[in-house]
């Protein structure tokens, strides 16, 4: 186990989560959420959960981001908080 790698990814995860929630542009927020999903997918691959990582890459980072962007496209990009 490469715990230092693990810790770096985990810290990036927290940063990505905070950014995704604090950006006022919803499109950017969805994109950062995609980054968050990819980071966590790396983490799971590293922790030996290959099936979970594969699913997260396909579902979390792929489809979730796409449908979120589709919604932002159909509604509005601006957010007050």
């Amino acid at each position: 186990m490469i715990w230092s790698f693990d810790i770096i990814v985990l810290i990036f995860l927290v940063i990505a989560a905070v950014i995704a929630l604090s950006v006022r542009d919803l499109l950017a927020s969805s994109m950062v959420l995609g980054i968050y999903s990819f980071l966590i997918c790396i983490l799971w691959a590293e922790m030996g959960a290959v099936d979970v990582a594969f699913t997260e890459a396909a579902v979390g980072a792929g489809v979730s981001t796409v449908i979120m962007i589709a919604t932002v496209f159909q509604t509005t990009r601006k957010s007050k908080d």
Binding site: I7, A17, L21, G48, V50, V52, T76, S79, D81
Partner: protein, 144 residues
């Protein structure tokens, strides 16, 4: 210092999962924008998945796909098939949390899709995604 570092590292995943979960929970409750609430929901759910996957990690263990090269552990299996070594459970990651979390990821994306559809419908009806604006419109149009 070393003791402290050991303590920190020993449960680091659990600390971070709590932090991520609380970020998500806070966003779900306090954010005003509906999409932001859903971003929070994603983070919240992933944090729980992180917790589960962390349960199953074993130090220096391989992924839960048996290729026949697992570390044998005393003797052989007493079946007809003598080639198969008896696998030491310590060397293979625990597969149960992975199975459970596959389900949880799928549930997560289903909930997200449903919630996004509802958010679009809200936008269709109220022309806004901000909770306070929608509530203000509701107060105005209470008598229609």
């Amino acid at each position: 210092m070393d003791v402290f570092l050991d303590f920190l590292i020993a449960k680091f995943n659990y600390w971070i999962y709590v932090i991520l979960m609380m970020i998500g929970l806070f966003a779900m409750i306090a954010k005003n924008n509906l999409i932001k609430k859903l971003v929070g929901m994603c983070i919240f759910q992933t944090a729980i998945i992180l917790f589960y996957v962390s349960i199953g990690v074993k130090e220096d263990a391989r992924i839960p796909i048996l290729t026949g090269h697992e570390v044998p552990h005393g003797g052989h299996y007493h079946t007809e098939d003598h080639e198969r070594p008896y696998i030491d459970a310590k060397t293979v990651t625990n597969p149960i949390p992975h199975v459970l979390m596959l389900t949880a990821i799928v549930v997560g994306v289903s909930t997200l899709g449903m919630a996004l559809a509802i958010a679009q419908k809200v936008h269709l009806h109220y022309d806004s995604l901000e909770e306070d604006e929608i509530l203000a419109k509701l107060q105005l149009g209470n008598n229609d």
